[in-house]
Amino acid sequence: MESRIRVLLLTTALAVLAGLSGCASVRNWFHRSGSDTSASGDNPDQNAPPRVIEPEVARRTITVPRIHSSNLELGLSYGALSIEDFGTHPSYGVMAAYHVTEDFFFQGEVGRSKAGLTSFEVLSNINLLTESERRFTYYDLSLGYNFLPGEAFIGRNFAMTSAFYILGGIGGTDFAGDTKFTVNFGAGYRVVPVDWLAVHVQVQDHVFQSSILGATKLTNNLEALIGTTVFF
């Protein structure tokens, strides 16, 4: 008797639970047992496929900021050029470099100076060249190697990256009414006090074949310069 009452009560409780729409787990029991239709037959959407909820949030397009590459150096130089047989005079120019790796860089330079008088011209009072022919203009394209990279210190709190470098290349020199194929080589020291600025001290030899004073010979034209460049 008691067990019959217990079965009746349990059946009533389960029927009530199945009627509660929020209780998915209990609804599922009936779904599995096949008696679901009688439990929730009043729902008209019952046989429709389950509804997929479309999120109403627009997907954000994330743009990753570009990393700025700062390998190009551009600046001006000022120095002294010793033109073989024609004395030493101030020179000025433009220099540009592209750093390919931490060791190697390409450098291009254009510079100008003015030749003085040869000792023959001084003694004989005869001018070998006109004023425009005395203008010494050169350009070169070189490959450089940072030979001794390091750091330079000013006091206790300020350090600058630096490098001693060697470079060599080819170019042309316009002097005495002719343009000559020129080979150049040299060495320099570069300090970078702040990331965007560099200061160079450089010594370079511009070698070309000349026959201005009669015999054809290789002339060495040494140049020492100070350059200031900006990285960008």
Binding site: H68, S69, Y92, E102, F106, P149, D195, F231
Partner: protein
């Protein structure tokens, strides 16, 4: 006159410096990267020999300020600035956990890249020749190339300018041959003391080929031959052979 030129040069340089300074140091949005390795090493300078002075622990982040060659200047959350190598930065991730990919200067870059530049020494029609070129790649095999050069000879000097297409036959190979074809212009200045002719500009067309050899990092050697046909206003067209070899890099 020289003094004025010097003043102009100085003024233009100062202007250039003033214009560029904010571009380098101004406030802008930087890429933030997160450390996944046990730590990330910060060097004092952009080179393998510079000492490590600071480390960022795992899950810490850095802002990438800019790149110089294969080194990246970064700033930590605490404002410490230092240089991180390309190899170390490759092991960091973006904010969403995805890997950080960037352009590496390696053999794969030699096969496929956007730009190339290089310098050459050689001979043009028997004269010494200095030349430089730059190219833009459409894909790993085809590129548009521009070259300028100066030839300095016994009988004449001059300047050349070429523009053309280059087809790389085997872009994956270390020894990578190529073919080229294009148009150009040559400016010739005969030496007045020897030949009584005036300066002239003439259009040219060329066809040629060569080989590229990958050296290391971003560097390769390149040697080539071009057969130039110079279209003159005289009775006969001229031909000039161009041989050159030099260093080049890609980026």
């Amino acid at each position: 006159m020289i003094w004025r030129a010097r003043q102009c040069a100085l003024a233009s340089f100062l202007l250039l410096a003033a214009l560029l300074t904010p571009a380098v140091s101004g406030a802008r949005e930087y890429l933030q990267l997160f450390v996944t390795e046990p730590y990330l090493e910060l060097h004092t300078g952009p080179g393998r020999g510079y000492p490590v002075f600071h480390v960022v622990p795992r899950d810490g982040s850095v802002d990438v300020l800019f790149r110089r060659t294969d080194w990246f200047k970064v700033r930590t959350e605490h404002g410490v600035e230092g240089w991180v190598s390309q190899g170390d930065l490759q092991k960091t991730v973006l904010a969403d956990g995805s890997a950080f990919h960037f352009d590496l200067g390696d053999r794969a870059g030699f096969t496929s890249h956007h730009f190339e530049m290089g310098i050459f020494a050689g001979a043009y029609g028997g004269a010494s020749y200095v030349s430089a070129y730059g190219s833009v790649s459409f894909n790993s095999q085809l590129a548009l190339e521009g070259a300028v050069g100066q030839f300095l000879g016994r009988y004449s000097n001059g300047v050349t300018g070429d523009i053309g297409l280059i087809h790389i036959i085997l872009p994956e190979a270390r020894w990578s041959p190529f073919l080229t074809i294009g148009l150009g212009e040559v400016h010739t200045e005969p030496k007045a003391t020897l030949v009584q002719t005036s300066d002239r500009n003439e259009p040219t067309a060329y066809v040629g080929g060569g080989i590229r050899f990958y050296l290391t990092r971003r560097f390769f050697l390149r040697a080539e031959y071009k057969a130039h046909y110079i279209f003159t206003t005289r009775n006969q067209n001229e031909e000039a052979d161009e041989w050159k070899a030099g260093f080049a890099f890609f980026f």
